[in-house]
């Protein structure tokens, strides 16, 4: 077990010192989206898209001519249509989806004999119309459309940048760009991709609404054409791609378990009998006539980011027994709340009621997200990602929450005390835990990850949504508290996916002011003790690098503090970026407020998500991709193909050789040095074991700990195993406590 010493430090510091100031453009086309990790598709080329005809092709030229003619005769309806779609297609489809759900969100009326008929997908127009878009059905619908559009757009982006066909307005100056494309290649058309997905999926999910769906799709494609964004061949290729991707999702939907989610009368009776056998009062419908429980087996529908085992593991423990004094206290609290309701509390209950004829709780959060997505001016594929992440987390919440509700079959306050009355509708399913709270906990987690500047609003909204159920008189406080926490755990699965799907890296594509990212691969969150990069405008007037350790807490007039009082060591300060060490003092927190104060006294404060573990490997290109900052142990020779990197000696490592990987984010260490100082020796080893993944082979690290003589950087030594693959671009990642870093490459011979 050999451990490197000082030479490596100089190399790392040299690399850090010339960290390029990443340009901070809020809008970018995300050219790399075709490489982002897929969720359901096997890869961006699962659906083939043939190369387009060249721009000199006579067929294409006549497509352009007809756009010119149409642009010369635009009607006011067409201009309105172009304006409606200019904010982005995924936002508009989200609004359509909110309306489809609201229009279908009605429980069937009882028959005259007191029974209820269930909507049937086979005869959707027959009374009662299919579907009944209740919260789980709605969550599932939102997620299928959002994820399918996202996956289809990633594939579209792959082909866009492979074929690089410019938009009609870019090819022919006689065609006006009525919607700006910022140079995004136009084949296949992203608008047509979205339309193709929407028509294919929504016709299955909301079969009685095909007219609205088809009209919206036609409108979107027409707007793309008339605005100069896409030609007819761009559009037909995009539509076909969208339809083909949607078919993969339709197949999944056909067997994801929804068909069995209603169950039979015998199964419903079994749920009640099981509760009675546990000594509990079983839930009973409070409707008149009593209505069968709503989707009791939705907890077994396929989630996106969670496996069935995860659903079971994350399930909260049981509520208080219906015969316990704690339950009596919970009931009494609901009663007292209703008896003393203020007008403000009624307003909160009504605001979040999201009952019949509404977009349902997941729709409410999609409605909230729209503003943030629109204002962030994301590329279409990144906007689709935001909806997909949010809606996957809420679908998983629906599964997790319904699993909980029907495991415990807990009665509502009105059943325990019939004198309790409600100021909103009472949903026809068990009480513990609150669906609204679970959806909100997950949505809060995902939206805070995507839009850190909105954290205070998302947190407050989630809290308000949860307490609104107590004010409405339909939930116990424990239902709401448990749901919020459960939802946050569920949301974490989606966030962990998002952290490593490749979308949140530097190169100016996704950095917005107010972000703090790890200093190796520019991901969020960051970990205490590690090097990080802060992006914010107007930090300093020029670029300065610290020249001594312990690191200063003020550099070139710039100083930073966490949570108002914890000073932050600085490596470097430049106008739009600062390299810092996240203080060890923040260990254990999930977020902290960072205040930057520059030389003219102005300050900005923003939220920084934290994690105990967020491994990230340094790379030669300083973007977290490509050849890694990995050396042959005890040397400064990079582990890459010989002569492949300017200015540095490199060679492939041999099997059996030790290599040293430079990274951040490995978490707590033994004998941590004070914040801002370096460890003098190799005793600051990581508390959690670290392993190295080489093209999927896991190798335990021989040594993992702070890099002696440096601040905020870790060193991992590992021996190349005999069964390691050979090649010049073997993927390498570091993993600690179940979290895996970005992947860089090394060369092995």
């Amino acid at each position: 077990m050999t451990i490197s010493r000082k030479p490596s430090y100089n190399l790392v510091l040299a690399a850090l010192a010339v960290v390029a100031v990443v340009p901070m453009s809020a809008a970018s086309n995300d050219p790399g989206a075709g490489t982002w990790q897929m969720i359901l598709l096997t890869g961006p080329t699962q659906v083939p898209v043939a190369a387009p005809a060249p721009v000199t092709d006579p067929g294409y030229l006549s497509e352009l001519a007809s756009i010119k003619t149409a642009q010369a005769h635009l009607t006011s309806a067409q201009k309105t249509s172009i304006s409606n779609w200019s904010a982005g297609g995924t936002v508009r489809w989200n609004q359509i989806l909110l309306e489809l759900v609201a229009s279908a969100d009605l429980p069937p009326e009882p028959n005259s004999d007191g029974t209820y008929t269930f909507p049937s997908a086979a005869t959707p127009f027959a009374f009662p119309q299919f579907p009944f878009a209740n919260p789980p059905y709605a969550a599932r619908s939102y997620s299928y459309v959002a994820v399918a559009q996202f996956e289809a757009l990633k594939a579209a982006w792959y082909y866009k940048y492979q074929y690089n066909r410019p938009s009609p307005s870019a090819v022919d100056s006689g065609i006006q760009a009525l919607i700006q494309t910022n140079g995004l290649p136009s084949y296949p058309s992203e608008d047509a991709v979205e339309s193709g997905v929407a028509v294919a999926l929504l016709s299955v999910l909301f079969p009685t609404q095909v007219n609205l769906i088809n009209a919206t799709a036609a409108d979107q494609q027409q707007a793309a054409l008339l605005s100069g964004k896409a030609s007819a061949s761009d559009i037909s290729a995009g539509y076909a791609l969208g339809q083909a991707v949607a078919a993969v999702f339709v197949t999944r939907a056909g067997s994801d378990g929804l068909k069995n989610a209603t169950g039979t009368a015998a199964q419903w009776q079994a749920l009640a009998d099981a509760a009675t056998a546990r000594g509990e009062i079983p839930w009973k419908s409070q409707e008149n006539p009593p209505r069968p429980p709503m989707l009791p087996f939705f907890g077994q529908v396929k989630a996106w980011m969670m496996q069935p085992g995860d659903i079971v593991n994350e399930r909260p423990g049981p509520p208080p027994s219906t015969s316990s004094p704690q339950m009596a206290q919970q009931v009494a609290q609901v009663k007292a709340t209703i008896q003393n309701l203020t007008r403000d509390q009624i307003a909160i209950a009504t605001k979040w009621a999201d009952g019949a004829s509404s977009p349902t709780p997941p729709g409410h959060w999609n409605f909230i997200a729209e503003t943030y997505i629109t204002n962030a001016k994301l590329s279409e594929v990144r906007a689709a990602r935001a909806f997909a992440l949010l809606d996957m987390a809420m679908m998983d919440s629906a599964v997790a929450c319904w699993d909980t509700k029907y495991t415990y079959f807990n009665p509502r306050p009105e059943q325990m005390d019939p004198t309790i009355k409600t100021v909103i509708g009472l949903p026809n399913f068990p009480s513990y835990e609150s669906g609204h709270s679970t959806f909100s906990g997950a949505a809060d987690t995902v939206l805070t990850y995507l839009f850190p500047s909105g954290k205070a609003y998302f947190d407050a909204s989630a809290q308000e949504a949860a307490v609104s159920r107590l004010y409405g008189g339909i939930h116990y406080q424990i239902d709401n508290d448990t749901g919020l926490a459960h939802g946050a755990r569920v949301g974490g699965y989606t966030v962990r996916f998002a952290q490593q799907d490749g979308a949140d890296t530097a190169t100016g594509t996704s950095i917005t002011a107010g972000q703090t990212l790890d200093g190796a691969s520019y991901h969020s969150p960051v970990t205490p003790g590690s090097l990080a990069a802060v992006f914010q405008s107007n930090l300093a007037t020029s670029s300065t690098i610290a020249n001594a350790i312990p690191l200063p807490t003020s550099l070139n007039g710039l100083s930073l503090t966490f949570n108002g009082s914890i000073p932050v060591p600085l490596f470097a300060a430049s106008p739009n970026q600062a390299n810092i060490q996240i203080p060890w003092e923040l260990q254990g927190l999930t977020s902290a407020m960072l205040t930057t104060t520059n030389s003219d006294g102005s300050s900005v404060t923003f939220n920084v998500p934290l994690s105990a573990f967020a491994p990230a490997v340094f790379s030669v290109n300083q973007q977290g991709t490509g050849p890694g900052l990995v050396t042959i142990a005890n040397s400064s020779t990079l582990v890459a193909a010989s002569n492949s990197i300017d200015g540095t000696i490199s060679r492939a490592a041999s099997k059996g050789e030790f290599i040293t990987i430079y990274c951040v984010g490995l978490g707590a260490v033994n004998n941590p040095p004070p914040t801002g100082t370096a460890t003098p020796d190799s005793s600051s080893t990581t508390v959690s074991p670290v392993s190295v993944l080489l093209n999927g082979i896991t190798v335990p690290a021989a040594y993992a700990g702070l890099l002696p003589g440096s601040v905020g950087t870790y060193q991992v030594n590992v021996q190349i195993p005999d069964n390691a693959p050979s090649g010049n671009t073997v993927a390498l990642a570091v993993s600690v406590s179940g979290v895996t870093s970005n992947a860089v490459t090394i060369a092995i011979q």
């Binding site: 609004q95 909110l98 309306e99 609201a102 229009s103 969100d105 009605l106 429980p107 069937p108 009326e109 009882p110 009374f127 009662p128 409070q286 409707e287 008149n288 006539p289 209703i338 007008r343 009624i346 307003a347 909160i348 009504t350 605001k351 009621a353 019949a356 004829s357 509404s358 977009p359 409410h364 409605f367 009105e414 309790i420 009355k421 409600t422 100021v423 909103i424 509708g425 009472l426 008189g473």
Partner: protein
């Protein structure tokens, strides 16, 4: 009209209930509501400023209740009505009696911030309204009379607590609800002499727009509400010695046809007192 410098004031109590209602055009009952009852207690004042101009104020307090289900009844001060009534015409017409025409301009204003969108149990719909009404009245000397009235009401937008709402086939992504205008007309006929009144009436309301209640949905404040109502009223001076100028009223109304409204019966009783101020011609 109330004679000048005279105040006709008192308390009106009404009890309205229905178990059948029209969900759009579909007449049905709802086991989660049972019988919905609304009680209203109104202080009413009608003051003759001159012999041709009256000023009217009404202050109602409303209680609602559903006999079945889990929904909470509501109560509170509802909307104040302020009106000015003008006698436009008062002339003999044929040898039997007089023809009168009246115009009323009135407005209503919610007096408290009650929750409007918890229909059918909300005590009102929180809209500010302005109405204009025209009445033609033919009163014979023997006491028989006939009346025709038409009224048009404009209603201001209501801002609800929900951030969006679905009605009339569309999801509106706003909390601003536009309220359709309302047209009412009524005919009544009966006997009115020496303070004794007995009449029968028929009234129709036609809302000028709005959505229908969908199947198993709850009503909404901007629904397309129509109704046809028949009724009868008796008013007579109370023969209480030493207490002149006190009158009692009894009224019954029944909605026999409608759209997005309860098939309701209403019983109203009122106790009204005439106060004479200096200059009042009333003995």
């Amino acid at each position: 009209m109330i004679p000048r410098h005279t105040l006709f004031t008192g308390n009106v109590y009404s009890y309205n209930s229905w178990d059948h209602y029209w969900e759009g055009h579909l007449n049905r009952v709802n086991g989660n509501l049972g019988t919905v009852s609304t009680q209203t207690d109104t202080w009413s004042a009608n003051y003759g400023i001159t012999n041709r101009i009256d000023f009217i104020a009404l202050i109602p307090y409303v209680w609602t209740n559903a006999s079945e289900g889990v929904l909470h009844g509501m109560q509170g001060y509802q909307d104040i009505t302020l009106a000015a009534k003008f006698k436009l015409l008062d002339r003999p017409f044929t040898k039997y009696g007089d023809l009168k025409a009246f115009a009323v301009v009135s407005g209503t204003l919610p007096m408290t911030n009650y929750e409007p969108a918890f229909q059918p149990l909300s005590i009102g719909n929180q809209s500010n309204t302005i109405s204009s009404r025209l009445t033609l009245n033919y009163q014979t000397r023997r006491g028989w009379f006939g009346n025709g009235t038409a009224q048009y009401t404009w209603r201001r937008d209501v801002f609800i607590d929900q951030p969006y709402y679905y009605t009339n086939g569309q999801l509106f992504l706003t909390n601003d609800v536009s309220m359709p205008e309302v047209f009412d007309y009524a005919f009544s006929g009966g006997y009115f002499k020496h303070g004794l009144m007995a009449n029968v009436s028929i009234e129709q309301q036609r809302t000028q727009g709005g959505g229908d209640i969908r199947r198993q949905d709850m009503p909404f404040i901007s629904n397309h509400i129509n109704f046809s109502k028949i009724g009868g009223l008796i008013m007579y001076p109370l023969p209480i010695p030493g207490l002149r100028n006190l009158a009692a009223q009894f009224q019954y109304g029944y909605v026999f046809d409608g759209r997005n409204v309860g098939q309701s019966m209403t019983y109203t009783t009122a106790l009204m007192y005439t106060v004479r101020f200096p200059g009042s011609p009333v003995r």
